[in-house]
């Protein structure tokens, strides 16, 4: 079995932060009645969500349903037209809160001319981290995504799946208490996908709140809770089991159609 002592070490400081931050929040992330439009086209309609600490929330929906826009509001990259987002009890957007978020974008936002190590060093420098800690974290995250042997390789020589994994590694670098992952496992082979999920569970057990988007139904049931999104509206929330039983369906796909109003 693998050891995850580094994470436990990391958690300690985060717990401290949470104790210090007042008022103590019940939810890691709270989204309240947000609306968002681009060029007069409304993308998100009155979305409200409450995500407790140390939980994996999956946002499930077809492409173009507004998942990415929703997680961008949570990550503070974008601000909603109306409504509010609270992270660890504080209102977004706030610069200091960005320290607590690990964000993995849908597009692999990497400097392809640079090597993986140079990319990691660059992003690590954006967070206050000592040189020794930086090296230690880089080794650790590259071990998690199984890219340790490719540290010195230019990212442009990476395959699609490898780039995805490197993006994930960068999101994990600063041990954020909140992870926001936009389609994290696209293009990653099944064996590694299982390993990454194991890692997500471990992080979660240690207190990390994870929000991820997916359009793959069989991946959705791995999440603790699901939010189904269709055409910018949150059509259902609950554990996978709850969603199945309430809709009396046997697969999430059928449940999705049920909540979408396509099945009577």
């Amino acid at each position: 079995m693998k050891e995850y002592n580094i994470y436990e070490y990391g958690r300690g400081s985060i717990m401290q932060d949470e104790i210090n931050s007042k008022p103590m929040s019940t939810y890691a992330v709270e989204v309240s009645h947000i609306n968002k439009s681009f060029d007069k086209r409304q993308i998100l309609f009155d979305i409200s969500l409450k995500i407790p600490h140390a939980q994996i929330l999956g946002l499930l929906g077809p492409s173009g349903s507004g998942k990415t826009t929703l997680v961008k509001q949570m990550a503070g990259i974008d601000t909603p037209d109306s409504g509010e987002v609270f992270l660890l009890g504080e209102k977004m957007p706030k610069l200091s809160l960005l320290n607590k978020i690990g964000y993995m974008a849908q597009a692999d936002a990497l400097y392809t001319e640079l090597t993986a190590e140079e990319n990691l060093n660059f992003f690590a420098s954006m967070y206050k981290m000592s040189k020794g800690k930086q090296t230690e974290r880089i080794n650790e995250v590259m071990r998690i995504v199984n890219l340790k042997n490719f540290l010195k390789v230019q990212v442009k020589k990476y395959s699609g799946g490898m780039k995805r994994r490197l993006s994930l590694a960068i999101a994990l670098l600063h041990e954020p208490p909140i992870l926001i992952l936009d389609e994290p496992t696209v293009g990653i082979d099944p064996v590694l996908r299982v390993a990454i999920w194991e890692e997500l569970y471990t992080l979660c057990r240690n207190g990390t709140t994870i929000i991820l988007t997916t359009h793959v139904m069989d991946e959705a049931d791995k999440c603790h809770k699901l939010g189904m999104i269709r055409e910018g509206r949150l059509i259902a929330t609950g554990t996978p089991e709850e969603l199945l039983s309430a809709s009396s369906t046997s697969t999430l796909e059928e449940a999705f159609l049920f909540y979408g109003g396509d099945v009577k």
């Binding site: 320290n99 974008a105 597009a107 936002a109 392809t112 001319e113 660059f122 954006m126």
Partner: protein
């Protein structure tokens, strides 16, 4: 700390992309070399001042299509250093003495040949006493527009490459990704300025050194001042390049800005003689950064002037640069409100 990281990131990018560094340095050197080999002049009607000149001489000078103005001796010197006239002729004891402004060899030659023709009609003796305010007799046309070209190439390549680099940052999603970190907007812009700054100091120094020492372009002033102006040129081009990249959706659209942003600047920089242009139209030059670059570089390299004489140009360039830096920091609000 983060500024340094952004700066190092840019330098590493250059380290992995040596071709672009090569382009920034070798392409200007290549074109400057070609220009120094092939340049030839164009017709021009000189503006000549006369002091104590006989009417007959003035008339025959005017027949040569020269624009002749009478001055007192003091007024003529003043007009010459203000570049209101290209030369003045002083008839001391009936013997003509020509004093040329001297920084443009093409104009020098025109004045000399016009005066020579006028003298032939006026008297049998065509013995001319010629002195120069700036420049010298053997000065080539390349000496005259070389300083402008140095400024232009630094501007052009830095504009293009920084614009494309920042466009890449926008399009690859790395800018979005960067905005999800606690980096401040100004840290990105200043980091960019410093990262490119290192490269452009090297680029400017090499181009200036090559032009002066290998191509033998005229150099009367201090090398440090030339470097100061070229680095400032690069910084201005950098901040404008980053700004303009916001209006381009892809590399091809960035290239489309060259005829809009770069080419008009060449016309008004002084590379082409605008003496015959309507004055209000000539004034357009004064809103383009390259005009100040050209002015400063010519003053240092041809006229050997010091920091005090180019302080105004330096000030204007710095102001343009700072304006666009602030504009860039504000423009990043599009990516993140805070």
């Amino acid at each position: 700390m983060r500024v340094k990281a952004v700066m190092i990131r840019i330098l590493l990018n250059f380290k992995h992309d040596k071709r672009t560094v090569g382009l920034m340095i070798l392409a200007p050197i290549f074109v400057l070399t070609l220009m120094s080999l092939v340049f030839s002049g164009a017709p021009y009607y000189p503006k000549i001042g006369v002091v104590n000149a006989p009417l007959q001489f003035v008339n025959s000078l005017e027949r040569e299509n020269a624009e002749v103005t009478r001055y007192s001796e003091y007024g003529a010197i003043e007009a010459l250093s203000n570049k209101d006239i290209d030369a003045f002729i002083n008839f001391e004891n009936g013997k003509p003495k020509i004093k040329l402004e001297g920084s443009d060899p093409m104009k020098n030659n025109t004045v000399i040949s016009d005066v020579r023709s006028a003298m032939m009609a006026y008297s049998s003796s065509i013995d001319l006493d010629i002195t120069y305010l700036y420049g010298y007799k053997e000065m080539s046309s390349f000496d005259n527009f070389g300083p402008i070209l140095i400024g232009f190439f630094v501007f052009f390549f830095v504009f293009l490459i920084s614009g494309l680099a920042f466009l890449g940052e926008r399009n690859s999603g790395t800018l979005d990704r960067l905005m999800a970190t606690p980096v401040k907007r100004w840290e990105i812009v200043i980091g960019y300025m410093l990262g490119f700054g290192v490269i452009t100091v090297i680029q400017s120094a090499l181009i200036a050194w090559f032009s002066i020492n290998i191509l033998g372009i005229m150099m009367m002033g201090s090398f440090a001042l030339v470097l100061l102006v070229t680095v400032l040129t690069a910084m201005t081009a950098l901040s404008i390049g980053i700004f303009i990249s916001a209006f381009a959706n892809n590399e091809f659209q960035m290239i489309q800005f060259i005829p809009v942003v770069i080419v008009p600047q060449i016309f008004f920089s002084g590379l082409f003689d605008l003496s015959t242009m309507t004055p209000w139209l000539r004034g357009i030059g004064k809103v383009t950064p390259l005009w100040y670059v050209a002015e400063a570089l010519r003053n240092v390299m041809i006229r050997g002037k010091g920091l005090g004489d180019i302080a105004y140009d330096i000030l204007i360039l710095s102001a343009i640069c700072i304006f666009f830096i602030i504009a860039n920091i504000l423009a990043l609000k599009k990516y993140r409100k805070i």
